[in-house]
Amino acid sequence: MAFVSSGYNPEKPMENRITDIGPKHFEQFYPPVIKANKGKWAYHEVLQAGVLKHVAESGDEVYTVRVGGARLMSVTHIREICEIADKHCDGYVRWTTRNNVEFMVDAEAKVKPLIDDLESRKFAGGSYKFPVGGTGAGITNIVHTQGWIHCHTPATDASGPVKAAMDVLFDDFKSMRLPAHLRVSLACCLNMCGAVHCSDIAILGYHRKPPMLDHEYLDKMCEIPLAVAACPTAAIRPTKVEIGDKKLNSVAVKQERCMFCGNCYTMCPSMPLADTEGDGIVIMAGGKVSNRISYPKFSKVVVAFLPNEVPRWESTTDCIKNMVEAYAAGANKYERFGEWAERIGWERFFDVTGLEFTHHLIDDFRDPAYYTWRQTSQFKF
């Protein structure tokens, strides 16, 4: 494993340096049919789950086959995508905003061979490499974050729960029977790297134990004022502690004021929160971002805690499946999850899903909490 230089000279970092060139220009990556018809599309149709047809004013057509998959991807896998794109799509491919891959062809006849090829490919473990689906009134890929694969603050894994959930929701990835789009998202901690806060169903990693204090290290590692300032509930104050015979500058945490947001740990590595029993999942539901019919909405907490059941998070996937079925059975056509819950009333939502309503679900965070209580005599028994 000898070091191979790229040509970069660490002695003269500025020599020949190229900076601020930005990304590649998008145009060079457009398939010809896209380039030719850009801005002049007339209409589209979803031919079947995972297959779109767009028709241009010129009469040109582009057929898109969308495939799902883990966004965590090896170069081997990307090369396989390239191979398929070369074979069927003149060497072009794209990714969607939800981490699906789209293969485009310019004639209907090319669709079936493409699909057949895609669906025939499986990983050694037996799972599909390129399942076709994820369009229309169904469930598409779960957008998610890093989890235990890379991040230092997660309260749950990302890729694992996503795999487990998509296995359970697979039929709805491959079909379009639901009343509307149903977007599932996951964020492994409260930082919520994604639009988890406004997803139809959101899986959120959450800590439930206040930070531990690694006093010895804190003194060395941390800008104590930063850690103190980081806490949104003012639970942290500077203090002095004695460890052995050393007097250390450190902090104290008023535990009952802690809401486990982990912001202190972001600022200070000597305040870890992670805990096997403490950590787990919050389920949120009813958010959306589109402006269709109703305004964008935040997701609401509907289950305060589910444990991290490795490797398949059964309670979480059961809960989601159950919500999806209740929604499928109860919602009107075009009605998003949150619109449905609001129409029937959240009290009825807990009824039909059988989810338990606990005190944790009542907002108690600052002034706006008030607006979530019920200021009317209208309610359903």
């Binding site: 970069y8 990307i78 096997t276």
Partner: protein, 437 residues
């Protein structure tokens, strides 16, 4: 023969959905084989160690990654996230495991040649594992060592004409929906605007000068396929200000069942025949539509361009021709004071090169935020703290009712002294002449 036993992860290989575990395993195998004799610049068994440390996390129910520390490339304040394993002896392959954010092309179209180049680079100088893509939009190279950072950057810029994305208190990598490239709903060229602003603000993207992170996202229409309204400090949403164009024959074709409603997006449900009254007219949020005597009418003055009717009948209804964007500001995730959606700042502006009307707004907002924002205060939080009016004032935009969903219900109006005749400085003795104590 796997380096580490992964009984828990192995259970994630079954089931229909593509297994990331299987994929990492295939990469591990390929690296072990090394058919192309690559001179790996990070450990050949790095993927084994990824699986190993992840299995350990599954066992403990806790992450085994530590804080980043400051790593990066010379002259840039972002683009690299440092990462270290907290069990480096057990998993030396991932002892350092930094990520590199590679600024994706607008629209996320690729050709295979370029993709393969990236793969080659990353196999050679990194773990061979990526995120396609990160939540902000970057291509994320997942896991390399400190010494490789400059090398990778050098190759990216010199060989592939490609720059890094954002991280830190910078402009973050902008991203967009597919827009005009393949969508009939697009009201402006999202790729063009995204690319233009990304390049226009390379300095802001690479050199941290902001109070905190700042994100742009570009949605071609109110369907918001890149979720800009939920996750960008400044969100550009396509819209129009003239009338929806109606093709009455196509309406009839929908009513007659010739065309599938909502472009077939509900094909697998049992929804019965299309009912234009129930499915369109009654669901229009403003009630501005009418279908009488086989004719569809829209009172466009009252339409709020929610897209519903167009989504249901794309062949019959088309967005207007006088298109542009609405600019919303302040969206963010819940840390620290709760999540925010974007709030409407500029109801309508044309999207026309050289985009000056847009850059003016951006720069006015940045000036205000850089002047007033505290350390780690997102734009949305500043707006909340100082008030929406304060922003309008600073940015020089007149208040219009479009800015609010509803006027304030508390009457706590902070009048300014110059708005009140006579000013505020009064003489209590003068007052006492008329009002004894």
């Amino acid at each position: 023969m796997a380096k580490h036993e992964t009984p828990l992860l192995d259970q994630l290989e079954s089931g229909p959905w593509p297994s990331f575990v299987s994929d990492i395993k295939q990469e591990a195998e390929n690296r072990a084989k090394n058919a192309n004799n690559v001179e790996f610049q990070v450990k050949q068994d790095v993927c084994e160690d990824i699986l190993g440390v992840l299995e350990l996390s599954y066992k403990h129910g806790r992450t085994h990654w530590k804080h980043g520390g400051i790593v990066g490339v010379f002259g840039y304040g972002g683009g690299v996230i440092g990462r270290y394993c907290d069990q480096p002896e057990m998993f030396p392959g991932v002892a350092h495991f930094h990520t590199i954010r590679v600024n994706q092309p607008a629209g996320k179209f690729y050709n295979t040649e370029w993709l393969r180049n990236l793969c080659d680079l990353w196999e050679f100088r990194g773990s061979g594992i990526t995120n396609m893509h990160g939540s902000t939009g970057d291509i994320v190279f997942l896991g390399t060592v400190t010494e490789q950072l400059e090398e990778i950057f050098f190759e990216l810029t010199h060989k592939h004409g490609q720059d890094l994305g954002g991280s830190g208190s910078n402009l973050r990598t902008p991203s967009d929906c597919i827009g005009e490239a393949r969508c009939e709903y697009a009201c402006y060229d999202t790729q063009a605007l995204c690319h233009f602003l990304t390049n226009e603000y390379q300095d802001e993207l690479h050199r941290p000068a902001f109070p905190y992170k700042f994100k742009f996202k570009f949605d071609g229409c109110p369907n918001c396929c890149v979720a800009s309204i939920a996750r960008s400090d400044m969100s550009f949403i396509g819209t129009w200000r003239d009338d929806i164009r109606i093709d009455q024959d196509a309406v009839a074709a929908y009513v007659g069942g010739e065309y599938p409603p909502n472009a077939g997006a509900h094909k697998d449900g049992n929804w019965g025949a299309f009912d234009i009254q129930k499915e369109v007219i009654d669901l229009c949020p403003t009630g501005c539509m009418k279908y009488e005597g086989g004719k569809l009418e829209i009172n466009d003055k009252e339409c709020t361009r929610c897209m519903h009717c167009i989504n249901v009948m794309p062949r019959a209804l088309k967005k207007g021709l006088d298109t542009g964007v609405s600019i919303l500001v302040g969206a963010k995730a819940p840390i620290l004071d709760g999540a925010q959606m974007g709030s409407l700042l500029v109801p309508f502006v044309k999207v026309e090169e050289p985009y000056e009307e847009i850059t003016e707004v951006i720069e006015a907002i940045w000036d205000w935020w850089m002047e007033e924002g505290k350390n780690r205060e997102r734009l949305g939080e500043l707006i909340k703290r100082q008030g929406f009016q304060a922003m309008l004032d600073a940015v020089g935009i007149d208040p219009v009712p479009q800015h609010v969903k509803e006027p304030r219900s508390n009457p706590y109006i902070f009048w300014k002294e110059d708005e009140v005749p006579g000013g505020w400085q009064r003489d209590v003795n003068e007052f006492r002449k008329y009002h004894q104590r």
